[in-house]
């Protein structure tokens, strides 16, 4: 109630008038009432009433926060967070080595960034994740939908059809091996058509469209509450040209990162971004580093770097708050993103330890 008038989210002109009239705290405003306010400041009664409603809402929000109430507050204990994290699902990538170094798969409520040279498999992984997020819960998935924001135009529907068909077939094989009722029921809705209908695709041609789309995402996600994955394929591409003023670019990118963090948390979805590589020319040598500069490196929680070693594709976990840095090899097959060799039976037991929601899988018949 002692909140200063200057910090209230009112129109700047109104704030200036209040300051000129000598009001200092929110309590004074509430005590004056709408009629008194309108006479002192010279605004209409309706405007005064609106302003007072905003003030009241803000103060109640503040009070709730200080009293430890629920609602808009984001406060909880570490124990509650631990329970939440343990019960949360991961989005598997079908490459068990990659899932292992990520701690189970792509995490919900976190931003994962995938950097790599062209052609190494970033878009392939994104398409794989857009299909994998839809795997029903009884097969170890999160049964969600996916939003795919494409800035480079590299989304190929035919490829997604291939990946989805392989995924459906894989689930059929598991269901046949295990013969459980809920598997059969889940498979009725897990068809190619359904998978494709739940990938929401946006093609953004420049950074303005991308900014606009991210501003509209909260509304979209409230309407489509089953979305558990937001992919932005090519966050670097629209920002690498037409920017003479690099500070504007940094500001826009930081704003974008903040909005994505809020979206990831509020709507419990994973955000996956792909980034390009650029050459940094040092004193005596050049190295490939992720594009968009140093400050962008702070935006993502988890950073994966894909690179080549002769003809083998490798993925390095470069930045993660809970897993250690490691490198694994992966493969891109006609069925999608896969391990280099078929995983041994030991892997399936490891999987159950890491993710209690996953039923134990029999040895992978695929690949």
């Amino acid at each position: 109630m002692q909140r200063e008038v200057g910090t209230l989210p009112l129109a700047p002109a109104l704030r200036a008038r209040l300051a000129a009239a000598g009001f200092q705290t929110a309590q004074e405003l509430l005590d004056t009432g709408p009629c008194g306010l309108s006479k002192e400041i010279g605004i209409s009664r309706e405007e005064a009433l609106e302003a007072l409603q905003v003030v009241r809402q803000e103060c109640h929000g503040d009070a709730a926060r200080t009293a430890g109430g629920s609602g808009a507050t984001r406060r909880c204990t570490a124990l509650e967070l631990l329970e939440e994290e343990q019960s949360q699902g991961f989005i598997i990538t079908f490459c068990s080595a990659l899932d292992n170094i990520l701690g189970g798969g792509v995490q919900l409520t976190k931003i994962t960034e995938i950097c790599g040279a062209p052609g190494v498999g970033k878009t392939q992984l994104c398409m794989q994740l857009a299909v994998d997020v839809q795997i029903p819960e009884c097969f170890g998935g999160v049964a969600g939908e996916a939003v795919f924001i494409d800035t480079e135009g590299s989304f190929m529907v035919d490829r997604v059809v291939d990946i989805a068909a392989a995924c459906v077939q894989h689930c059929h094989l598991i269901a046949e091996a295990q013969q459980e009722e809920d598997h059969r029921k889940a498979l009725e809705t897990f068809s190619l058509e359904n998978i494709l209908s739940h990938i929401y695709y946006f093609r953004c041609r420049d950074y303005v469209e991308l900014l606009a789309q991210v501003y509209l995402l909260p509304e979209f996600l409230s309407e489509h509450s089953k979305v558990r994955l937001v992919v932005i394929d090519g966050i670097a591409f629209p920002f690498r040209h037409d920017f003479e003023d690099l500070s504007l670019r940094t500001r826009l990118l930081n704003g974008l990162a903040q909005q994505l963090i809020i979206i990831a948390n509020d709507y419990k979805s994973a955000v996956v971004l792909t980034n390009q590589m650029t050459t940094r020319i040092g004193q005596s040598q050049s190295t490939l580093v992720p594009a968009l500069g140093e400050s962008w490196g702070h935006a993502a929680t988890v950073r994966l770097i894909f690179h080549w070693d002769n003809s083998q594709r490798l993925a390095t976990l470069y930045k993660s708050p809970s897993q250690k840095e490691s490198t694994i090899a992966y493969h891109i097959t006609p069925h999608g993103f896969r391990d280099v060799q078929p995983p041994a039976a030991a892997h399936s037991t490891e999987g159950t330890e890491m993710n209690p929601r996953k039923r134990p899988r029999t040895e992978e018949e695929k690949q």
């Binding site: 989210p9 009112l10 129109a11 700047p12 002109a13 109104l14 905003v54 040279a117 062209p118 052609g119 857009a130 795919f148 480079e152 135009g153 590299s154 529907v157 035919d158 997604v160 059809v161 058509e193 998978i195 494709l196 209908s197 739940h198 990938i199 929401y200 695709y201 946006f202 093609r203 953004c204 041609r205 420049d206 950074y207 303005v208 469209e209 900014l211 606009a212 789309q213 501003y215 509209l216 509304e219 979209f220 591409f237 629209p238 690498r240 040209h241 037409d242 504007l248 500001r251 826009l252 704003g255 390009q276 650029t278 050459t279 020319i281 005596s284 040598q285 050049s286």
Partner: protein
């Protein structure tokens, strides 16, 4: 979309006037400001500004499609998805031929046949659909002055003697190949920007740029500071316009590139300019 005036974003007249006093006239200007700056500029409260942001965003944001709708649209017209190169093994590897709607890059050391390939594909694009062509015109942007019209006629006559049985048919084909000689990066970019209208007016079904590397290598010496940024600016600008054209009109775009040596441990200034890895930002 970015240059859309705020007037057309359904903002009120007085709001637009007020914003134009701060030189904010397009959606791009509006969306580049932070929330606090917007509050100052519009004189509205926080909630109102957020509503305005949503309004302006709705005017610029792309339309949503599901992957299923995209697949249905593609399956309606499968034959127009590729331009067959008539080289069976190449078509097999490419799953049908040069894909329409995306950029394809051809790169090789000098003398391997990039320009010859481009000339042949130009002939193929002018053929009727029944013969595997696209039945349309071709825009050929030549930066090396390597295009030879005589060679074009030679290829057409010997490859398809039954179709090009008269001079009349040959000349008709040559009339539909529009050649532009551009010798600087700036003019190449300007030409690419102006292509949209040409594509519609001339019923263009193929764009060939031979070659991007030669203009870039002539003008941008990466030994100089700042050139790397400018060069990448030019390349990505060109790439995004070409991608837009390819997708909008569902036509193939073919670019050629040159080969350079990449020295793995040597200094970057010697490893050079437009290695295929660099230029892949232009292709799919």
């Amino acid at each position: 979309m970015a240059a859309k005036k705020l007037r057309r974003a359904q903002l009120s007249q007085e709001m637009c006037e007020r914003l134009s006093r701060y030189q904010i006239t397009t959606c791009q200007d509006f969306l580049c400001l932070s929330l606090l700056e917007l509050m100052k500029v519009t004189g509205q409260s926080y909630c109102e500004v957020q509503k305005l942001l949503c309004k302006v965003s709705r005017a610029c944001a792309p339309k949503m499609q599901t992957a299923y709708e995209m697949k249905l649209r593609k399956s309606v017209n499968p034959s127009s998805a590729f331009l067959s190169t008539t080289l069976h093994s190449l078509d097999g590897v490419l799953h049908g031929g040069v894909p329409c709607g995306s950029l394809t890059e051809i790169t090789s050391p000098p003398g391997c046949g990039k320009t010859q390939f481009c000339i042949m594909v130009s002939v193929l694009a002018t053929l009727p659909v029944s013969m595997g062509g696209l039945d349309g015109a071709v825009i050929y942007i030549d930066t090396e002055s390597a295009f030879s019209a005589e060679r074009l006629i030679e290829i057409a006559a010997s490859r398809f003697p039954t179709y090009f049985d008269s001079d009349e048919k040959l000349f008709c084909m040559t009339r539909s190949i529009h050649l532009y000689r551009e010798l600087t990066c700036c003019s190449v970019l300007k030409r690419i920007m102006s292509l949209e209208e040409e594509i519609i007016s001339k019923n263009v079904k193929l764009i060939v740029i031979d070659s991007v590397a030669s203009v870039v290598r002539k003008e941008f010496d990466t030994k100089l500071q700042g050139n790397l940024a400018e060069r990448s600016n030019f390349l990505t600008r060109g790439a995004s316009v070409l991608k837009y054209l390819a997708e909008e009109f569902s036509i193939p775009v073919i670019l050629t590139n040159q080969i350079t040596t990449s020295l793995s441990s040597g200094p970057a200034i010697q490893a050079d300019l437009v290695s295929p890895a660099d230029d892949l930002s232009l292709s799919e």
